[in-house]
Subunit: 327 residues, 2 copies
């Protein structure tokens, strides 16, 4: 039988963590003191935090430990990117059941470290504790701005076009495949995107340096919820053309309306939703436009107004689907 966390003990685990997370020049004091000490390139920074809990955000049956660690990093980097910033350092809390295998935990930590390394940052510190049940993970991520100002969701302007990167509904389709109980083809890009979404850091970087981009956010809870948030924050009326929503080729076998519903309501794509004056300097799809208004979204399909279903997107505390793992 493989070694458990209770057998390994806290000190040995902390030693493994300290060896796995590289330090770098911005982390003056890393793991081992009361706090980490950080030297930032500027005194203006952004910060986000995200928790991931077993049986809510992930299942140990459908995702490897490394994938869970990588996803935890990617969803936080996505928030940092969407502000027009780059990640600088992270603080990681892990609350783990005592009977968890050491191999699983080391894979988790290595997954966090490798994904963080891809985005050019490391973990400066954290907290480790016993969980009475599910695995509980929390990452707080700090970042530095690419330009002199952050890109907010509250600054879309009438006359802007509305754009998204990548494809929508892909992660939700991947989750559906995983939840179907059928054998999953590991070559499925939808499944891969659900497991480890990646973050649009390079695209966000270009947009942050381009003055035409007026408002930006990442799509984590699905376009239905997130477009509404952007409209409300900016006090504008958005028109979204459902027929223009970019779909992954793996959704091509689905009836049109079913695929579009995944794109409208599906969460966890972690693509960028942004408003811009003129064509953006990155590959993106124009899905609508920004008009003067008071915080609403006007959905159009086949040239006609389209009524969204109530509560069809994912909401914590008001879930409509027991199988949904999204945030």
């Amino acid at each position: 039988m493989s070694q458990t966390l209770a057998e390994l003990g806290e000190d040995a685990l902390i030693q493994f963590i300290a060896e796995t997370f590289d330090s770098n020049s911005s982390i003056q004091v890393g793991i081992g003191d009361d706090c980490a000490v950080i030297q930032s390139p500027s005194n203006l920074h952004v910060v986000t935090t995200d928790a991931m809990i077993e049986k809510v955000h992930f299942s140990r049956e459908t995702m490897s430990a490394a994938q869970i660690g990588r996803k935890l990093v990617a969803v936080n980097v996505s928030d940092i990117a969407a502000m027009g910033a780059r990640p600088a350092y992270g603080m990681l809390s892990m609350c783990l059941p005592e009977d968890l295998s050491v191999r699983w935990i080391k894979e988790l930590i290595s997954g966090v470290a490798s994904e963080a390394g891809q985005y050019g940052f490391s973990i400066a510190g954290g907290d480790l504790c016993a969980s009475p049940g599910p695995v509980f993970l929390n990452l707080t991520l700090s970042g530095t701005l690419v330009a002199s100002k952050p890109i907010l969701r509250s600054t879309a302007r009438p006359g802007d076009g509305l754009f998204v990167t990548g494809t929508l509904g892909t992660s939700a389709y991947g989750l559906r495949l995983l939840s179907s109980g059928q054998h999953v083809n590991d070559a499925s890009q939808s499944v891969a995107k659900h497991r480890v979404p990646g973050a649009q850091l390079e695209n966000a970087d270009v947009l942050a340096r381009w003055e035409g981009c007026h408002a930006m956010m990442d799509i984590s809870d699905g376009l239905a919820i997130d477009a509404n948030r952007l409209a409300k924050a900016s006090s504008v009326r958005l028109t979204v053309n459902i027929d223009a929503l970019p779909l992954h080729e793996e959704l091509e076998g689905l009836p049109d309306e079913e695929a579009q519903e995944l794109a409208i309501y599906g969460g966890e794509d972690y693509e960028l939703l942004f408003s811009a004056a003129g064509p953006p300097p990155i590959k993106a799809t124009r899905i609508g436009s920004v008009e003067a208004g008071a915080g609403s979204v006007n959905w159009v399909r086949d040239g006609r107004p389209y009524e969204l279903l109530n509560n069809a997107s994912y909401r914590h505390f008001k879930t409509n689907s027991a199988t949904q793992e999204s945030k």
Copy 2:
């Protein structure tokens, strides 16, 4: 019956949170965007993170929601203080069961806000999600240095005296009273300290401005573990005189050795342990001295060497007491 979280919904809860946490000048963008945007007075800062989980760190039977919220803040402020810094802003994650009452959650949030306000900072952002079981809380706290340098645990010098603020074993005694199943006297200061420890921010401030203080940390896991950590980090040999350990008057009824064991092994006092050249400019008790060595602690009682019990202090993943709630 009182309203549950599932009935209230996420949006209404976020609105309550945004109204409860004051913004301040350092928080340029607070709750509501992908990230918070922070303007720091300097580009050097410290950061810590701590999780608190129901049934591991607290029980809803023995602590009110407001006390749990206050304790979450205090244990993080204690880490910030122990670096010679003041808290600047926090990021709060709350993972809550759907059937939790709204009244309890609002009390929790108000507890966080009031304790943070006492220490002069606010919550800049966070994450909210459903928990499949226990309440999970995580606070990441950032702070700014009082002086030009942090005070580390790795810089104790041979010749220093070893000091602690306040009393030791008090929180552990409070936990024992709470765990005894007997009626608890709410006037007990030990119980109050276990529930909401407070942080030694003012004392730490004075020490951070005083050049005589060479090394400092907070005592969270008990003196046995934490003195050992300071000795190892500084590569020195500490001598601790057990008879000098400061005990709260509520422990006076206990046999000497029993009270001293609480002071040695009990966690969660959140007092400061520091090494200093000469008498410190705050009220503190000298409990020992720092000598050249290689990272060990020499315990003395009645003038004779004293062997510590193995594993008598609290360790996550190697617990020796099912009733212990400490970190």
